[in-house]
Amino acid sequence: MEKFTKLSGIAAPLDLVNIDTDMIIPKQFLKTIKRSGLGVNLFDEMRYDDDRNEIESFVLNQPAYRDAQILVAGDNFGCGSSREHAPWAIADFGITCVIAPSYADIFYNNCFKNGILPIALPQEQVDVLMKDAEKGANARIEVDLEAQTITSSDGEVFTFDVDPFKKHCLMNGLDDIGLTMEKAASIDAFEAAAATSRPWV
């Protein structure tokens, strides 16, 4: 997995609540057996018209935001299905940090498995960063995972929370299956005990 430490990038504003995983990556793109190549279909139904032409008004189609690395969005981002195609598409587009007031649980966890940092901030702080993002390509937002800070283009600093284990894995690009396999003895012991206490499982 790609490491995430620091990021200074353009932030795209998407001021909508309840952005669901069907919006992020519609189902017709779930028929892939690969993880890569989904960036072109990120937000597909908002981004292209019926003839596959770009819809100019959509934020990621605007010249200022075509290279956005950060997405600022509304409450309950990523609600809906468990499809990891959503973070795959986001990462494949080049966005590695999302800032929103809250996230749906499964989406939030999926981000960390794909080198994406989802940051939850209070609504009023997201509002400040949303305004900042609306300034376009000249407004770069800085994210420092080590220090757990976000710095707006005006130099305003916000701190954020992140689970220490998730932070550790993201900063070091760790494969958590490998980490878990180091604890195989605990899993073996659990299985042996369960075979006696719950043999029907």
Partner: protein, 468 residues
């Protein structure tokens, strides 16, 4: 010992390792797998030389892509990419030695219907699947939730998940339901009150007289949509209804093991005075037959109501409601019962079980669907289909003008050929009314099977109580 909730008890019984920071390895008893969210996980195993740790606890079934038309044995009914995904599951299931129900097997169906039906899902278990509606299995008092593909790979390789514990929420439904009100209305009513993020960070335990009086089918409908309220999982304590459902299922314990299991299952309840971080109480009598008007499952109103004015909401919801109403082609103040539909979909992991079909058939018996209506019933499994045929329910649907289909997810998420065209409007018994969910530009109104049947007859959203 301090009193525990049902969730606390199941959690504690499955912690295989706990790190100093509280991060746990939770042991997984059952891993359900379907074709859409698993190919990359199996590929990951191959690339790293890993294998499936517990194939005997891993159950695979194709459901999302499969056509549900009667000619589906003909490969031409599937698109190339869908066929590749299903073939990949065939190959992976064989290569890694999983329990497998291929498309040709009468037991095939929607993964969340097949699991309970075959007795894989039992009280007190941990159940995961790369699908958010895994919450369904919580109806048995098992801790069940959806996971992403990386986590699917993690469970395949280690039979565990890295987890942090959620908070406890209690949702109590007291009293009794009125005629025409079903489990679907109960679960929609809860989401209407909590919102789609109200359950985020929680595991919900549903309890109260209404839940106790519900069949297993109804309880599965309730837990299925826990995820639509944002909760990690929904739970219902097992009782005699649960035991009766499980007994004799192919993979349920038998003989002395059954007795031992039963003894254990009877310890699975929330202790008196156990702490809940959040409590919601709803009177069963206050719940009316509901429909959604917008593009979020929280956009719920009684069928007797009108399309709301976006200005009546607060914060970001004002804009969201405006966008929803525009997408749905509605007007604020319009009566919900005046909304005309052209499609009816009865099925899905929410409402594709025998009880759902009985409820719809009771409304449809001796009646015809409106001229020009496209209406389909998609059983949750081949066994549900067979039972409905045996009970004469299938014939009621066919006589009314419904298409009687084979099992699969079908128009719930429109990954197979069943899709809405732009502007088409569907009365659906599924779980999500998101923009484009049932096809680009398609408009979805969620409701119970009985309400969907009523809409099929009149051609508009209809209060089923008027037809009873």
């Amino acid at each position: 010992m301090s009193p525990k909730t049902l969730y606390d008890k199941i959690w504690d019984a499955h912690v295989a390792h706990e790190a100093e920071d509280g991060t746990c390895l939770l042991y997984i008893d059952r891993h359900l797998v379907h074709e859409v969210t698993s190919p990359q996980a199996f590929e990951g195993l191959r690339m790293t030389g890993r294998t499936v740790r517990a194939p005997e606890k891993t159950i695979a079934v194709p459901d999302h892509n499969v056509p549900t038309t009667l000619d589906r044995a003909n490969a031409a009914t599937m698109t190339e990419d869908s066929r590749i995904q299903v073939e990949a599951l065939d190959t992976n299931a064989k290569e890694f030695g999983l329990h497998y129900y291929p498309v040709s097997d009468v037991r095939q169906g929607v993964v969340h219907i097949v699991g309970p039906e075959q007795g894989w899902t039992l009280p007190g278990m941990t159940v995961v699947c790369g699908d958010s509606h895994t919450a369904t299995h919580g109806a048995f008092g098992s801790l069940a939730h959806g996971i992403g593909t990386s986590e699917v790979e993690h469970v395949l390789a280690t039979q565990t998940l890295i987890q942090q514990k959620s908070k406890n929420m209690k949702v109590e439904i007291t009293g009794k339901l009125s005629p025409g009100v079903t489990a679907k209305d109960v679960t929609m009513a809860v989401i209407g009150l909590t919102g789609t993020a109200g359950g985020t960070g929680y595991v919900i335990e549903y309890c109260g007289q209404v839940i106790r009086d519900m069949s297993m089918e109804g309880r599965m409908t309730v837990c299925n949509m826990a995820i639509e309220g944002g909760a990690r999982a929904g739970l219902i304590a097992p009782d005699q209804t649960t035991y009766d459902y499980c007994m004799g299922r192919p993979h349920a314990p038998k003989g002395a093991e059954w007795e031992a299991a039963l003894t254990y299952w009877k310890t699975l309840f929330t202790d008196e005075d156990a702490h809940f971080d959040k409590v919601l109480t709803i009177k069963g009598e206050d719940i009316a037959p509901l429909v959604t008007w917008g593009t979020s499952p929280e956009d719920v109103l009684p069928i007797t109501d009108v399309v709301p004015d976006p200005a009546s909401f607060k914060g970001g919801k004002v804009g969201a409601a405006q966008r929803s109403i525009e997408y749905m082609g509605l007007k604020a103040g319009q009566k919900l019962s005046d909304i005309e539909i052209d499609t009816v979909f009865i099925g899905s992991c929410t409402n594709g079980r025998i009880e759902d079909f009985r409820a719809a058939a009771a409304v449809l018996k001796g009646k015809k669907i409106k001229d020009g209506m496209r209406a389909m019933v998609v059983p949750g499994s081949g066994l549900v289909r067979a039972q409905a045929e045996e009970e004469g329910i299938a014939q009621i649907f066919i006589d009314a003008g419904f298409e009687w289909r084979l099992a699969g997810c079908s128009m719930c998420l429109a990954m197979n050929p069943d899709q809405l065209k732009p502007g088409e409007r569907c009365a659906a018994t599924s779980n999500r009314n998101f923009e484009g969910r049932q096809g680009r530009g398609g408009r979805t109104h969620l409701m119970s099977p009985a309400m969907a049947a009523a809409a099929a007859i009149t051609g508009r959203l209809t209060d089923v109580r008027d037809l009873m």
